[in-house]
Amino acid sequence: MQAPGEFTLLSIPAHDMGRHIMAAEKNNVPLKISVMLGNHPAMCMFAATPVGYEESEFAYASQMMGSPLRLTKSGNGMDILADSEIVIEAELMNGVRTFEGPFGEFPGSYSGVRKIPRFKVTAISHRDDPIFENIYIGRGWTEHDTLIGLNTSAPIYAQLKKDFPEVVAVNALYQHGLTGVISVKNRFAGFAKSVAMRALGTPHGTMYLKNLIMVDDDVDPFDLNEVMWALSTRTRADDTIVIPNMPLIPIDPAAEIAGKGHRLIIDATSFMPPDKLGSDSKIVTPPAGPEIDEIAKMIQVLQNGENS
């Protein structure tokens, strides 16, 4: 709240809403919004999912729930959820920016002070005894990491999979994807790096994927023991990439300039020709088959003391 009936709401150019704000101010036309507080968890989940600009979060939430959403019109003409606890209708104050912050943020740090877009409230409606929904956020692991982890990973996976069917899994659980681990089956030497570059161009990757670790398809990116094994055995220090001065969310605590940052790609996939391979070793593949099953049975008998 900035004054009775006025509030600031942070949006950045990478957000859909940021695009709307910039377009409204450029053309000097009113931008009306409806802020819905306290909604079905499926709606919250997809509101926080980096789907494409042309895609509908309402449609995704409805599909996941397997039933149509109950929508209605807000007083200022927006499609809103009929069952929101609180709805704040407002209009952008074109060209106005106001102090906000510092605020606690998901990297476990405070944002700096910013001057951000300001809105004028035109109406507030709510259910009887409305529930104000909030979230615990801070240095991980918090409920924010749990609630946003999978819906951050899934769209990146889907967007990559379209162009590169060799992608097996995407783990972007850590700090909203500031670090991501992607497993991929190398089609040719250096392939994982091309996949990494594509990941940086996805809607979420553009602003969030700061550190990317690429692993082979035999490594589960959600099993950090396996990821550390891949890092330990399949990386060469001169086979990492740093891309300087890329766009980055303005709340990365490590940023020299808020809103820009360097990207790191670590290729921890195994080398294949024409790359030179490790000259004096061979990676072990865990043995399997009828013989191994037989040996396992014998060991189990010994362990159970049934060998008398």
Partner: protein
């Protein structure tokens, strides 16, 4: 003499926003708003929030400082 806990603006910049009273009508707390930095506070909050000198420096604001502007508009007001 009230000044802004966040930017130290003087009393003439401070707006008396709202007064909270108990069932007997006695004043319990007052909410103030600073027109210089747009900070809003309640006078019953801890000193680390509402006393400029006790407040951590990181959480103070200098309205003269050029803070980052998110999506700088063409006609900036």
């Amino acid at each position: 003499m009230i000044s802004c806990p966040r930017c130290q603006a003087a009393q003439d910049k401070i707006r008396n926003e709202h007064q909270g009273r108990d069932a007997q009508g006695d004043l319990v707390w007052t909410i103030y708003h600073c027109n210089a930095c747009e900070f809003t506070w309640r006078d019953s909050e801890p000193a680390t929030s509402i006393d400029y000198d006790t407040r951590e420096a990181f959480f103070r604001v200098d309205p003269e400082k050029p803070y980052p502007v998110i999506m700088p508009p063409a006609q900036y007001k």
